[in-house]
Amino acid sequence: MTTAAEYSARLRERFPELAPDAIEVIDAIDMPTIGVPGADIQNVLRFLHDEHDFTMLVDVSACDWIGREPRYHVNYHLYSLDNNARVRVKVRLPDEPEPHVPTATTVYIGANWHEREVFDFFGIVFDGHPDLRRILMPDEWIGHPLRKDYPVGGVPVEYRIDPAYVGDNVVPRDARPAAGGVPVRLRRDRGRLSHMTWTGPPASGVPVHHGSEAEEISEEGKDA
């Protein structure tokens, strides 16, 4: 089985113009893992596809290591049907509002939806993608939900409220207005919500009790 160091050596041989430390060997327990610069991802994937029979791109996923630099990891998991081999190519991107990386759809057409998903959830822009839109979240969504600074449960629940019930002024059932009620305005401003579950930068070595933070009543709750 080819190790990550061998892949890295072959890549360096094939692309001598790269900086000597551009192709990085990363320790992993499951499969050979190499880290490459984002700008060279197409060349690397093309090389692995053509010369090492990695004909299948099974997955593109991202991971937000907030607090570390570089913050975003984009993982390409490749599989070779002929050799039953796997390799992970990792691109690390800095902490920017819109990190950019070239698309893999020029090599694997199946990367199309995977990259849309990563864009949707992490806001990572794949340059040259044929159709980079949100895929799972609604088109008009604001924010990228799988980023660690995006709160869990950050969407106000849309419901209707009966003005007769507001405050202590409870009106008997038969004295209430007949229909409808007033729709509560759905606020799209995520910045004001306070249900945060992210509890700090990773791997400080200290276990964190996620549930122990007092859940403050959000601005929305007070309004209602």
Binding site: V58, Y108, G110, W113, L136, P138, V152, T197
Partner: protein
Amino acid sequence: MTQIEQEIRDVWVDDETMRVNLGPQHPSTHGVLRLRVELDGEVVRSVEPIIGYLHTGIEKQAETLNWIQCVTDVTRADYLSNFFNELAYCTAVEQLAGVEVPPRAQWIRTMLCEFNRISSHLVYLATGGLELGAMSMATYAFREREQILDLYQAITGVRMNHAYFRPGGVALDLRPDHEVMIRDLIKVLGSRFVEYEEFLATNPIWVRRNKNVGVLKAPDAINLGVTGPILRACGVPHDLRKVSDYLPYDQFDFDIPIGENGDCYDRFLVRMRELFESLKIITQAIDGMPSGDFRASGKLVPPPRNRLPVSMEAVIHHFKLYTDGPHVPAGEVYVAVESPRGELGYFVASDGRGRPWRCHIRGPSFTNLQVAPLVAPGYLLADLIAILASIDPVMGDVDR
């Protein structure tokens, strides 16, 4: 241009073709899949799947749960093959933690996964038959699936979303009466599958609606990342059960059925043959079920119940496990298992604390659904339903 004119232009692309929304509320879209179809009369020009209607944020939620609670979260992703979700997640956690699963637990997992493959393929037969006019297939297949779900209930306590596989093993041991149930069920299923194959494979309507429809070529399938029965129907004998060691499949004797043409009929045949192969595995599993522990020992699993009254360490361990949750060493791992729909992959990252830092689910249906826009153009609208049925997407797996 007025707004109404604009809307009309959006619907009528030009004089000849029309855009039609199939779904998201449509009985043949397997849940809430929406297809925007451009039609030229009855002929499909292009298909655009619009997904996300069942997005429930499973990956985001996993980051808020501890390593054991997470099983109950991920099992809801592909709700027709729950055991595979649990298996892939638990295997990933075990690899991160370096825990060895005892043989009995592995064999129980193997057996239940194969039952799950059968119950999932039965839903394919039922809904596929329903959509293509073989309506009685729906009642027959769901009848057998119900019996399998009863078995799940006896073993795990629930019919779906079991959370039965836990990191380190399974939640409960098999009881002796389960063996009787399983043997009875094997007898019933074996005879029924023969009936089903006869019922559909000799049914002229079923054959004509499926043969030479939705042909997918093997190179396209590989480049798209398609796996599972759809890839095997193209003639590629790829099955992770044969080439991977996440479960002891090397100790079982079974074949990988493959197709030739890559059309809807071959996908049906591959799944039909897989039913028989899964039964073979279950029979061998129940015959050779090893004795021993049903879960590993260590910090990832609770202590044995009988240790609690006599050992202070066991009490501390139990308390820490259920208040704080286990801690898993930092690292990243990608685990792929062969689910009824193809390669189900879990990318799990840990930062060394009590919760997954990231739990990414590579759903096979998500990738396989990209087949529809590739193969459907040129076929009739009715064939699109056959293609969709043969892809067998589960929207919980697509949208997660």
